[in-house]
Symmetry: C2
Subunit: 539 residues, 2 copies
Amino acid sequence: MTAEIWDVVIVGAGLSGLSAAHYLRKRDAKLKILILEGKDRVGGRTVSSEIPAANGADVWDFGGQWVGSTQKHVMELIKELGLEVYPQFNTGKKVLHVGGPDSRVRVYRTSIPALSPLVLLDLTLFLWKIDRLSGTVCVQDPLKTPNAVELDGMTLQSYIEQHAWTAELKEQLGVCSRSVFGMEPSQMSFLFFLMYAAAAGGVLALLESTPGCAQEFKIKGGTQQLSECLSERVGWKNVRLGSAVTAIWQDAEWARVTTSRDTFLCRAVIVTCPPHLAAKIHYQPPLPTMREFLTQNMPVGHMIKFIITYQTAFWKEKGFSGEIVAGSSSNSPFCVTFDATSPRGNPALVGFIAGQQASRWGPNEPGERRGAVVSSLVKYLGPEAASFIHYEEKDWAKEDYSGGCPVNVMAPGLLTYYHPSLRKPCGRIHWAGTETATQWCGYMSGAVQAGRRAALEVLVEVCHVVLTAEEQEALQQSQPAGSRPSSRLLCLFSRKAVVAALTLSTALLLARRYDGLPRIRTYLTDTLSARKLNVLPKW
Amino acid sequence: MTAEIWDVVIVGAGLSGLSAAHYLRKRDAKLKILILEGKDRVGGRTVSSEIPAANGADVWDFGGQWVGSTQKHVMELIKELGLEVYPQFNTGKKVLHVGGPDSRVRVYRTSIPALSPLVLLDLTLFLWKIDRLSGTVCVQDPLKTPNAVELDGMTLQSYIEQHAWTAELKEQLGVCSRSVFGMEPSQMSFLFFLMYAAAAGGVLALLESTPGCAQEFKIKGGTQQLSECLSERVGWKNVRLGSAVTAIWQDAEWARVTTSRDTFLCRAVIVTCPPHLAAKIHYQPPLPTMREFLTQNMPVGHMIKFIITYQTAFWKEKGFSGEIVAGSSSNSPFCVTFDATSPRGNPALVGFIAGQQASRWGPNEPGERRGAVVSSLVKYLGPEAASFIHYEEKDWAKEDYSGGCPVNVMAPGLLTYYHPSLRKPCGRIHWAGTETATQWCGYMSGAVQAGRRAALEVLVEVCHVVLTAEEQEALQQSQPAGSRPSSRLLCLFSRKAVVAALTLSTALLLARRYDGLPRIRTYLTDTLSARKLNVLPKW
């Protein structure tokens, strides 16, 4: 078996790998860059597929779908590739179902969730606390965070148990964790959670669909186009599909990258696949101990995404936005849905079965799971939900060379003991993938940032290119994690929290004295409504 | 490439795999059993090597070394193979260094550690609490434990933060965690810790070297003999070294097991390697999602073990037992040492560099690490420690086809969401290895139990053997986790805790009133000494 010779081999044709290739080519058009991909397609955790719809057929995203205006790396790429974005539809009634399968399904029109004043207060204060904490995290070097070891020694769940008072809030926080990570709050380090939020510019930025937040826009035609356009730019001949890398061996002169069929020699390798997949590659010499322990402590989330198409957007006609939040106690397989009507006007809903709900429903037969999804939609939006055109789902845990979605989290203790290995090159191997990003880590934008950063490392190490000042800054990752879109909201929040706390305390005192709790609760709800207290995360 | 045909292929020639093979052969001598091992030796996490010693040379264990009388599976095997055990030497002065690098090194002769009464009380109550909790755990089905989800949603560290009062106790609990798991309390689920203790018969059983506990005996000639004798029994021709399994494919008729050189067809496979290594094998059809998530959430510990040989056992001559406990704040690379004088009388000490101390010292040059170990021994035992014959260490994280030691722990949330996959066969694949044991999980005895259980599964599934009543019971793992050797101690403990608590409270009250705290402390120490309050774990 003779080995082909390349300058750089990139493992993984997702957004991170292709962004790295694209950047390398832009800086040095002569570089011979090969991208090896295990799947039979490019795009990694983004995939856009056509399914039957009202007007015949249309394209939806079955992986990453949202971008936001503060996600500068992906927004620049979208612009560069000539793609267009459109906002997430979120007008109308929202549905909220927590507190047990038989509890009342709450529907509300305002921006205030239909929660009791006590839960609202609990939510407000809790979000204020964790956002303030996330503001203290140094994403580049999380151990610089005050009380880092303590925060990393506990799970997000432990923090919730200590700081959330009401069962309803705890259940809603479970929904947040599931929607963002495909995991439960018990499965991740609290410091990791704070770092992840800090990399996005704040906790609310992860949860909201308002300007600057994670769920602001979608890409017309689907997000997989990003990878397809990038493949065009770097040349499809340089992208080899169905070529899973099994081994990377290094000696003084070369890195030798092996697939089941071929061997390639190169000067540098950029590994972009998520940590649990990078762990399956055989390395010679072995990776440093700390790197091996790092990958062992970064499990991936579990998310099943579905799109269900309809003849008409009956939910809009009935005044619903399409947003449903269903807690783990609700019997619903999904934790959250949104309107997913296409830019061409084909009505659809998108939903996520994630975390413990994916553990519960993942092993069922597809028909059973679909039946349970449709039943829940009927329960929440009305009988029209039963007459769908097509239901299509994607269980990312079952996708070869993914094994899970949307992101790998960090188990407690990782940041304390192994974090320096996250981005540190191992000889000729450089690490990318959205998990290594410092801005919007875990998102498409993070994938692009990480790819570019790894490309810069290679430019310096292999090509001895002199970086521009801007590139040097990007390489050092010294930039703060963008503006904090939530800080403005949080200022409002903290003021509101004080107002709400005072109002509530007074009300409760009065209620206790005059035994007038029911009336006071009604009054409080009205008061808070009038203030338009915006506290429910809009995933 | 033509494939050899076998009845059963076992992945891993450690104690678990060889025990499985041995049991299968005993039940059906006609079975064709092949054992494939990546390393160039048998024994897995046990290895016994000869190093220079006072009388020329002698053999020491560089992996698992201790067994105990309640570890019935390994004790039966030792007897069957005609090997002998001898007790761990633990007579004499012990050394304790916690509270910072410049704090006083405490030396004590009694069974009571040289701790202040307050720390002693804290330790007593803490051990009593966790042992009581571990008594509520159902090892076979840990979700049946009261408050299981809550206990699994927190780290051991979180429990320590909530229930240990004194910094010294917290530091000592770090030493416990490092010595037992090679990991920090922040890195594991609290429910996992309780289950692990329950599988050993109680928390103290993990920590003590008294009868029934984990560090009771050693095996004359070394523990690797167990695997070597088993290989003799099953036939060395059936053990292939240097044969790492890379893939296991299954179809309706066969399992196809592949190494880099060969392919083998068989009716059943027993995978015995630890979860992080089993995750590197390529499975077709893919393993169930829950099994993949299970292996992603079971990182392995980090332990460097050293043996240092001397001309004379100078520590014994000076009245020391050889036991040193050094906290993470001590600047010592090791967390614990013991006397390791061989049955042939060659003086030696054994020590462990583990958890965060392994993270800190592992990347150093070997000479630097040795220098630091010797300096610490000089500090704790006297200048004679500098004149050693030989220092030999083994960093298990750097051992191919191990990657860590002594055991894989479970990250928070695993037991709640993925535990049913731990022992559940996947088609023709059966799972063994000490991590799957229900009695002395993580120990050599657990490895033997797990191997036998997997063998029973194969006897039923593949050979359609009718099991004896005893075998059926073993297969159902319905047996409780043996006697609880610590329960007797704990009864004593709880009485002593009450006495100590009352004495201390009175003393503190008196001290506050009469400003006589220093004298009261002396009194208390004397009183507690007189009572021979036995509260320090003897690792």
